[in-house]
Symmetry: C2
Subunit: 196 residues, 2 copies
């Protein structure tokens, strides 16, 4: 019983985010994270491959949830409505808002972490496009719907982690989709014709 550590994963994550915020990601060691959490380095490495994985460990679960929700959306739903279902499901897989905010500040401060975040978003777009193709959508349509879906995700997520925003993620997704509809409606057939 003495070796059982309640919520060691959550404690390590919170300790890491605190330290990354205080000292910077580069300057923080795994030993310091474990000490702050009151745990051993060995426990850290049972939970995370390295200190970077503390920040990105949730993204596979998030991608899986997105893909499953799109796959399970009822057949008559339009591609964008299926994407909307996927993004709502993602909302349920997001971490606590304060942790997400702290994580985003750490990532924004480090070029390597920003690149990793972009790579994760590109992977999310590719997984979403694949899920849409599996719903029978033709390739270039699936790519467009997926890229637009990730654009909606980014805007909703940025809003969600904004300190002045109280609404839930799913509501922000709905809001971004409403604005997308209004925005795209103004791209009349003449929009792409050149000349002032």
């Amino acid at each position: 019983m003495a070796r059982w550590e309640p919520d060691s994963r959550g404690r390590l994550r919170r300790a890491a985010l605190e330290l990354y915020g205080e000292r910077g990601f580069e300057q923080t060691t795994v030993a310091e994270i474990a000490a702050r959490a009151g745990l051993t380095e060995r426990t850290f490495f049972r939970q995370f491959a390295d200190k970077r994985e503390v920040l990105f460990a949730g993204s596979e679960a998030l991608e899986q949830r997105l893909v499953e929700a799109v796959a399970e959306a009822p057949d008559p739903l339009s591609p964008i409505a299926a994407v909307a279902r996927g993004l709502e499901a993602v909302g349920a897989a997001l971490p606590a808002r304060e942790l997400a905010r702290a994580r985003q500040e750490v990532i924004a401060a480090n070029a390597e972490l920003r690149e990793r975040e972009l790579a994760k978003l590109a992977s999310l777009a590719a997984a979403l496009a694949k899920a849409l193709r599996e719903r029978g959508l033709e390739e270039s349509h699936a790519s467009l719907a997926a890229e637009v879906g990730i654009a909606v995700f980014r805007v909703a997520f940025e809003g969600w982690i904004d300190a002045s925003e109280d609404r839930e993620f799913a509501e922000l997704v709905g809001d971004a989709l409403d604005r997308l509809r209004a925005l795209a409606a103004e791209a009349g057939p003449s929009a792409a014709v050149g000349g002032a």
Copy 2:
């Protein structure tokens, strides 16, 4: 006169793309690129900071053209129509199609180059959002229009470099915008409401 090298920049670019394609990006040296182009290493370094810059040197000009076209779009144009103008202007700044295809193959084969490409696209989205804010668009609207604009750019660009595609970039942008309008119209207010 003997030291004047006609189109040394273009020759170095073509030589580099050939070698990256044949041997891989990592395995190619600047000395080999210069030799293939029939030029000196010194000439290479007058044109490019390093062998990676051969692949990304055009992206600042592309970003500038996008931003200028959005800034110069007539006032009554909607945000998405201004974005469309920007994307058309980008079309005029793209390299020859065969070079763009060769470049994309090199980038697709190397994780570091893929990350750099994603960072350039994120920078393009940020520059586009800024240009839209300067047209008076509120921040979150500008972000959404910019992210959606980059989604359209990516899909049009992927189509353009596809071997089976003959249409010009501007036409593919127009096509993607038409599909965006149809796609977004299906995101009715009910799309974001949960439950099957």
